[in-house]
Symmetry: C2
Subunit: 196 residues, 2 copies
C-alpha cells in the first residue's frame, strides 16, 4: 500500500497546495506564481512544498492529473453504454457535466497557456476511449490515414469544448454532446463508409 495516499497529513497538505494553486491561477498568470505565493496562501511552511513537489510545474501537473483521473473514471462508468449505443454521447455527457461542476478549475486549465500538458492529456483521453467506439461502429482497418482521422477529430473535440467554455457555456450539455458526436460521426461516415 502506498503510504503517500493514506497518511492524512499528506493528503491534507497536497490538497491545500492544489487548491491554493487553483485559486491563485484565477488571480494571475501561472508563470508569475511562486512557491512562496502558494505556501503562504495555503498557510504551510515553504519547505513543506519541496517534500511533495519539485516546482510549481510539477504541482500543476498533479492538479491536471487529478482532473484527467476524475474524467477517466466518469468515462469508465459510461463506456459500456457508449459501446451499446455506438455513440460518443454517453461518454461526452459526463465529461461535459464534470466541466460544469468544476467550472473555475476547468476554465483555468483550458485557458491556461502553460497547461498544454493538460491539452495533451485530454487529447489522449478522448483518443483512447473514442477509438474503440468508432472502430466498433465502422469496422475500418487501421491505416496511417485513419490515424490522421483520429487526430483530427480528437483535436476537433478539444476545440469544441474550449470554444464552449470560453464562450460562456451557452449551449446545454445535451446540445454540446450532440454537436461533438455529430461532427465525429459524420466525418467517420465520409471516410469509413456506412456504419457496420
Amino acid at each position: 500500500m502506498d503510504k503517500t495516499l493514506t497518511d492524512r497529513r499528506i493528503r491534507r497538505t497536497q490538497k491545500l497546495l492544489k487548491e491554493s494553486l487553483i485559486e491563485l491561477m484565477s488571480e494571475k498568470d501561472f508563470k508569475d506564481i511562486t512557491i512562496k505565493d502558494i505556501t503562504e496562501h495555503a498557510d504551510l511552511n515553504r519547505g513543506t512544498f519541496y517534500l511533495h513537489y519539485a516546482d510549481t510545474y510539477e504541482l500543476l501537473k498533479a492538479v491536471e492529473d487529478g482532473v484527467t483521473g476524475d474524467l477517466q473514471s466518469m468515462i469508465d462508468s459510461h463506456l459500456e453504454q457508449a459501446h451499446a449505443e455506438q455513440s460518443l454521447i454517453p461518454v461526452l455527457l459526463p465529461v461535459i457535466r464534470y466541466i460544469v461542476k468544476n467550472e473555475k478549475l476547468c476554465r483555468n486549465l483550458f485557458e491556461n497557456d502553460y497547461a498544454s500538458d493538460f491539452h495533451t492529456a485530454i487529447h489522449s483521453l478522448i483518443y483512447q476511449n473514442g477509438y474503440r467506439i468508432i472502430e466498433q461502429r465502422f469496422r475500418f482497418s487501421p491505416t496511417a490515414f485513419s490515424d490522421y482521422f483520429f487526430e483530427f477529430v480528437t483535436y476537433g473535440l478539444i476545440g469544441v469544448l474550449r470554444k464552449w467554455i470560453n464562450g460562456g457555456m451557452r449551449e446545454s450539455e445535451d446540445e454540446l454532446a450532440r454537436i461533438g458526436n455529430d461532427a465525429v460521426m459524420s466525418l467517420a461516415r465520409t471516410f469509413f463508409g456506412a456504419p457496420a
Copy 2:
C-alpha cells in the same frame, strides 16, 4: 518610421536573442531556461536583454509572432488561388513547406508545452483564412452551429499538423495538404450541403 526595426544593432541583438532561445529550447525545457542562459549563449550582456524584453515569455512570444507573421505572408500570397480553386490546399501547402524548411523551430514550438500561445495564434491564422474560403464555397449562413464547425476543423488541422511533425513528417507535403483539405471539406459538405 519605427526605429526599432531599422537600427542594425537592435535587429542584431533581437535576432541573437531569438536564435539563442530556439537553440536552448532544443536542449532543455523552456521553463528551465533563464535570461542568463540566453544572454550567455548569445554572448550579450544580461542587462541588454531587459532593453528588449521583460522576461523569457515575452521573448518566446516574439519568436512565435515571427513565425505566425511569416506564415501569414505566405498565406496572403496564395489566398487568391485558394479562392479560385475553392480549396484549402493552396494555403495549406506553403504552410507545410514553411514547417519543413524551419523544422527545428516549428518542432520546438509545436511540441513545447509552454507555447500554446503559439497554438492559439496558429488557430486563428487557420480560422481567419479558412473561413472565407469555406464560406465562399458552401455559402452557408453563419450560426452558432457553424461557429462550432469552424472551431472543430481548425483544431482538427492543428492536430493533423502536430501528428505529422511528431511522427517524423512521413507523408509528402502534397499528401498532407490533401488529407487536411479532405477532412475539412468532407465535414463541410455534411453540414452545409453540396458546394454552391
